[in-house]
Amino acid sequence: MSALPVIAVWIGAIGLNTWLSRFDSRATRLAVALIFGATILILWEMAVRIYAVPPVILPAPSQIGASFAANTAILWSDFVQTIVKGALTGWLIGAGAAIATAIAIDRSPFLQRGLLPIGNFVAALPIVGIAPILVMWFGFDWQSKAAVVVVMVFFPILVNMVAGLAATEPMQRDLMATWAAPYGASLWKLRLPAAMPFLFNGLKITTTLALIGAIVAEFFGSPTKGMGFRISTAVGRLDLPLVWAEILVAAIAGSLFYGIVALIEKKVTFWHPSQRPQRG
């Protein structure tokens, strides 16, 4: 019986979205996505209230919102510590190193064939195993978090970049040969631009990896701030709304990070068929 209102809201939202989705314009697309998200929140709130779920198990969205509003200062400093210092720095260093490595081994198929399988192997190492080791090596502040992120993002970006550098069409390479282009010119004017769609694929995948890595690494030692630190201590204090507020920050930051990279991708690879405005 108590499930009736939940089901009613659910069905109502589905109906609304089905109707809206028929218009398929920019605005309705956004609206549909937002309605979907809002529905989930409402259902969550209703379920928590109707079934009297204890807040130490699952707080209601309203409680999370209140905690978010009450703790903005803490959330901000955690955000700076973990995402700006840890994740972003690590991601930039990792991406830079991966791109440089890809270009460095570009001329040596031998190295590529040797490095890539091993790279895939290393990428399969679970971070929970690497994190304590890196915390031991690089200290407990954000440097070790950045190091974890570097390790996590390096190989996915490397693999994509190497594939991208090889992704030119034979005809495009032949053209370069007919102009007797030296290595540098064909790298700079052909292969790097052609590699961009692949590179951005790697960059996008690794945005969420970077966040997760930085947060989890904090479980293995950290200063007294940071999102991972806050989550683990707040769980210990049963301050679940704060935990979820941190998760919310992570989700927003992650989506923004992804969105920004996707936006840059759009600017850089405007020419790629997947980015061009549809003709006809």
């Binding site: 089905t18 809206l20 398929d24 979907f36 032949d174 992804y258």
Partner: protein
């Protein structure tokens, strides 16, 4: 220009060697660097100990000691290899110290999570491709779902499941599923959308129903994409399981092994468990690769 042409007289053996040689070379280089790093990183400790014990070290002593520490900062490759060997072959596989036993515990949850994640990913993808409302609602939030630091809240997830009476393998598997459904979803949506306009038009001109279109066109076309995603997904499922094992009472599984090594500063145990996990991941990915080749060859998609 000549990349594609195999040199004449190349044998299977020669080709195998041609593939293994670069890997071996890089591997050797890594091991050499690793040894140097081990000496360098462990030296501080060895020197401090010498000072504390008031002894003088020769370079030979220093190097020997850095490579044989019981609690090294970085264990030497042979120490890790010995730890792995000890864990895999040195125990009865039912022993709690056996990596095979822990590996099996992890594997079973991984496979369960992988199965759940794959099923969820495929079903969502089918829905998304066939229903515009679902496409517009689910897809943006699927991306957002992956930004939730599931690894950080895994302990809570376990507790929440426990409060609902779900314990044992399933909570771990759910975390694994959460991580693995996303690549499957993305790959499958892409795959189901690969048939080009002409192929869809052909189906249309034959007045094929949606179900016929799905089974005879969309699904077969999506398989290459599906397999590519499955490889990512199974590795993700393994990571999810290991993370889920840490708080699941930390009793067994490679994750528990990793963490308990960490509590007691047993670096060699950590590294052995780490490598066991990576090897397991590599084997799983290879298995899917083999399955992929088999299927695609039978379908005539791999030449």
């Amino acid at each position: 220009m000549t990349e594609a042409t195999a040199s004449p007289g190349s044998t299977v053996l020669g080709r195998g060697l041609g593939r293994a040689l670069p890997i071996l070379t890089v591997l050797l280089a890594i091991i050499a660097i690793w040894y140097l790093a081990a000496i360098w990183m462990n030296a501080t400790w060895v020197r401090d100990q010498a000072v504390r014990a008031d002894t003088v070290l020769t370079t030979g002593d220093l190097i020997r000691q850095t490579l044989t520490l019981e609690r090294p900062v970085l264990p030497a490759p042979h120490q890790v290899a010995a730890g792995l060997w000890e864990g895999i072959a040195g125990q009865k596989i039912t022993s709690k110290r056996s990596l095979v036993w822990h590996g099996w515990v992890t594997l079973s949850a991984t496979l369960a999570g992988f199965a759940i994640g794959t099923a969820a990913g495929v079903l969502l993808a089918v829905g998304i491709v066939h229903n515009r409302a679902m496409d517009q609602s689910v897809m943006p939030w699927a991306v957002a779902s992956q930004t939730v630091p599931i690894l950080a809240i895994a302990p809570m997830v376990i507790v929440v499941f426990a409060s609902m009476g779900v314990t044992g393998l399933l909570p771990k598997a759910m975390i694994a599923a959460w991580l693995s459904f996303f690549p499957v979803l993305v790959g499958m949506v892409k795959g189901l959308r690969t048939p080009d306009a002409m192929q869809l038009d052909l189906m249309h001109s034959w007045n094929a129903s949606r179900v016929q279109q799905f089974w005879r066109l969309r699904l077969p076309s999506s398989l290459p994409y599906l397999f590519a995603s499955l490889k990512v997904a199974i590795a993700a499922a393994l990571v999810g399981t290991i993370v889920g094992e840490l708080p699941a009472g930390a009793t067994s599984g490679l994750g528990a092994r990793l963490l308990s090594g960490s509590y007691y500063g047993q670096t060699v145990q950590i590294w052995a468990a780490l490598f066991a996990a990576a090897i397991l991941a590599a084997v799983l990915v290879m298995l899917i690769g083999a399955l992929e080749r088999l299927t695609l060859r039978r379908m005539g998609l791999a030449r």
